[in-house]
Symmetry: C2
Subunit: 466 residues, 2 copies
């Protein structure tokens, strides 16, 4: 081939055919990888541990689906992942996020073992153990679900909360007509999913705790609301002296024994999160460890005397470690049917551009959201002043543990494991790193007044700034 | 009235009209009380703590039903009551027994609050907190249920086991089609009730543990049987590597953590007894305390990691302390419907005269029974040799704690309470009174080969001596 001059080149099927100066040749080239935008975690800690950056488009393997993401959920789980209190953390830096909705771009079939037909252009929901906060993701087909025709991407990216609620109410809680239940964080995405699914049972007394400012917005979804700060145990005992059939607790700590004390005979208490652990902006190992030890250990013989059940749900473990994929697929089908019948409808609190991920996380952290907080890769970022940008640049990197990238903790029994890791990581840093909040930008968001969709079919929308 | 001479007297409506020597008068007399035979507990301990004796017929109060007993169940609970390891023990001496079937002799209505029409001659089942092992009992109408037309008294006096099984499977366990379960003491009355009720759900994999000699008799009622003595955990893991949906444990102690370890994600372990406590003929406080401390305390956050539920059932607490009467009434109605449809049929192991109560207790204690052991007041006692009678007389009173009547322990949290009482009572007596077995008479009993009644409608009977 000539050293200089015009070159004709044609790329076909991964082969480049080139002609130059009368000489031609074929060259195999590696498949071209585009760059995609993604939100990656660089160290465990505060919000600045997270960066929006360009990364190579993920490579596909057999049985995987390549999806262009339209919306991806921001969950409390992500705050915990960021703070390094989830077990089985990935090697850093790693793309964050556990659920998404988008369009199929490609699918590498395994031949026989495919659960469903997937083709480019299909609108799908997917669950993944990290990697969802990106423009493009690769997900095992085991965790990909075709979306109902009329479901929006924003709604699709909110379905993880409904799977949690479904497992809590029906698989673990065995909720039946005429029963009563308490759920904390009633205005959150899972809390609202619980209320909608519980209404499908009929004649269920729904009690929630939520910050006072949310009560007006969610009061139609619950029969009774309390501020978590007040003595909700005494108040509930006044209206349900015989106790509750079901308590769903995402807080743990002190709320565990309060929840168990509220049960009536044959009642069930189910723990499905440890929100009390996330006390500050960065990880508070002290509150984490306190939570673990504060939660009362229970002798099954005591449960026998009191006729009570105590249990827990960790959906991530169930999906990705305990081979729960097929059960979750069944649940998704049931949820889609309920959606089509307008019995459920995800409440979307707000959507953010990927560049505004800090604001999205802060909204969730400050418990300002009513319903789902989402990242939408195609959304235009909010304009920033030069001062804001400078301030953000100066605080970049703050909040990471010891200022360095933290190697991934080993896997193992998650909560006990993370308490152990917490203590080992916290050495030299003191108990509970002080919150290192960046100067957050005031967020203008759209909120939805939540109504009982089972009764009204379509929730009335109202634009209000919180 | 004359001091002597003939007196004419007429008793009418509790008033005696008397005439003597031309003088007459009316005298109110207290209602005459007949004597009845009953089995009374005189001290906590071995079988000789129990005596068959004459007692005055119980007096009725408003809302109570007077029932002539035709059959009354002997439960493991009675052995525990005898040994003094149940909380809320009555003042001794006290009549034993918790369930019965018989004929209504009288009912003192409370006017408005009666749950159902009850009239003399009605065939009924009743549950009572002690007092069932007698020719005549008085029971609150809250715990009286009219029997289906074709149910025998023997079957009626076996229904407590079905209530236990119903609560375990459906209220606590939430059993659904396609699930798997393990139950211990599979040949006992509750074990067989569990198997029949579980079959009504359809496609349930039923695993049981039972003494080897029972396997032949109950194999049709279960899909898989293991001897409790073998390493059933390893065996079950071979046939159900993904784990079980439900474990029902009446043993506790070591079997608790074995049971929890066998659960699959979303699985439920439910403790409903502590048979491991009853180790010898008289109470073994050492094994009781060991049981309490050996049972692993559980952190709800661990359950969260593992996606498991742990719970307990104490039917006596539920019925008599936790206002569960109306729920149990609903359950009884469902059970009667299933009985009428021939979906359930109590397996009666053997019936005994009241005078043979020792033999009845021993049969249960030695785990010889397959299905229900009953006392039938009208049954003729087994003939005894003079030597047997002498031997029984000589050993009377043996087995009581410290040889004296034991005052009733205070009520309170039952199992924790009984461990505390155990230690205080055991002082000066050493740990675990040695069994003081009377010379038991060989029992000739009728046993039933248990079949799946849901499939066959009528179990095939076979007379075999165990």
């Amino acid at each position: 081939m000539a050293d200089s001059g015009q070159v004709e080149a044609l790329l076909q099927n991964g082969t480049v055919q080139m002609k130059a100066g009368g000489i031609s040749g074929d060259f195999k080239v590696p498949p071209m990888k585009h760059e995609i935008k993604a939100v990656a975690l660089h160290s465990f800690g505060g919000p600045r541990s997270v960066k929006v950056e360009n990364r190579p488009e993920p490579g596909m393997e057999k049985g995987q689906v390549l999806i262009r993401v339209k919306a991806t959920g921001v969950n409390f789980l992500d705050l915990m992942a960021r703070q390094g209190v989830l077990d089985g953390a990935p090697k850093l830096p790693a793309v964050m996020g556990f659920e998404l909705a988008g369009d199929v771009e490609a699918f590498v079939s395994t031949g026989s073992s495919n659960i469903m037909d997937i083709k480019p252009g299909d609108r799908v929901i997917a669950f993944t153990d990290y990697n969802a906060w990106a423009e493009v993701v690769c997900v095992s087909i085991d965790y990909v679900y075709k979306m109902p025709a009329h479901m929006s991407y924003e709604e699709g990216a909110s379905m993880l909360s409904y799977v949690t609620a479904h497992l809590l109410l029906f698989h673990l809680g065995g909720l039946r007509k005429g029963q009563s239940l308490l759920v904390h964080s009633a205005g959150g995405s899972v809390g609202l999913a619980v209320s909608q699914l519980a209404r499908t049972v009929g004649d269920v007394k729904l009690i929630g705790t939520a910050s006072l400012h949310k009560h007006e917005h969610i009061k139609q979804a619950f029969d009774q609301l309390y501020d978590h700060g007040e003595d909700y145990v005494q108040e509930i005992k006044k209206i349900a002296p015989e106790g509750l059939h079901l308590v769903l607790d995402c807080l743990s700590g002190d709320d565990t024994h309060r929840g168990i004390s509220l049960l009536r005979p044959m009642g069930k208490y189910i723990l499905y999160g440890s929100a009390n652990i996330v006390a500050g902006e960065s990880k508070s190992f002290f509150s984490l460890a306190k939570s673990w030890w504060q939660v009362e250990k229970i002798n099954p013989m005591r449960l026998c005397d009191e006729n009570k059940l105590v249990g827990g749900l960790n959906l991530r473990h169930f999906l990705f470690r305990q081979r729960g994929a097929s059960e979750v697929r069944d649940i998704m089908q049931q949820l889609f049917t309920l959606y089509d019948k307008k019995k459920i409808k995800p409440a979307v609190d707000s959507t953010y551009a990927m560049a505004d991920v800090y604001d999205a996380m802060k909204r969730l952290h400050d418990r300002k959201n009513i319903g789902k907080v989402l990242l939408c890769p195609a959304q235009v970022p909010r304009p920033r002043t030069i001062q804001q940008q400078l301030s953000e640049t100066n605080s970049a990197g703050a909040g990471s543990v010891n200022g360095t990238t933290n190697p991934a903790p080993s896997t193992g029994s998650s909560i006990l494991g993370m308490v152990r890791r917490a203590f080992s990581q916290d050495q030299g840093n003191g108990h509970g790193s002080a919150p290192n909040s960046p100067p957050y930008i005031k967020v203008e968001t759209t909120t939805t007044t939540v109504t009982n969709v089972a009764d009204t079919n379509v929730p009335s929308g109202s634009n209000e700034n919180l």
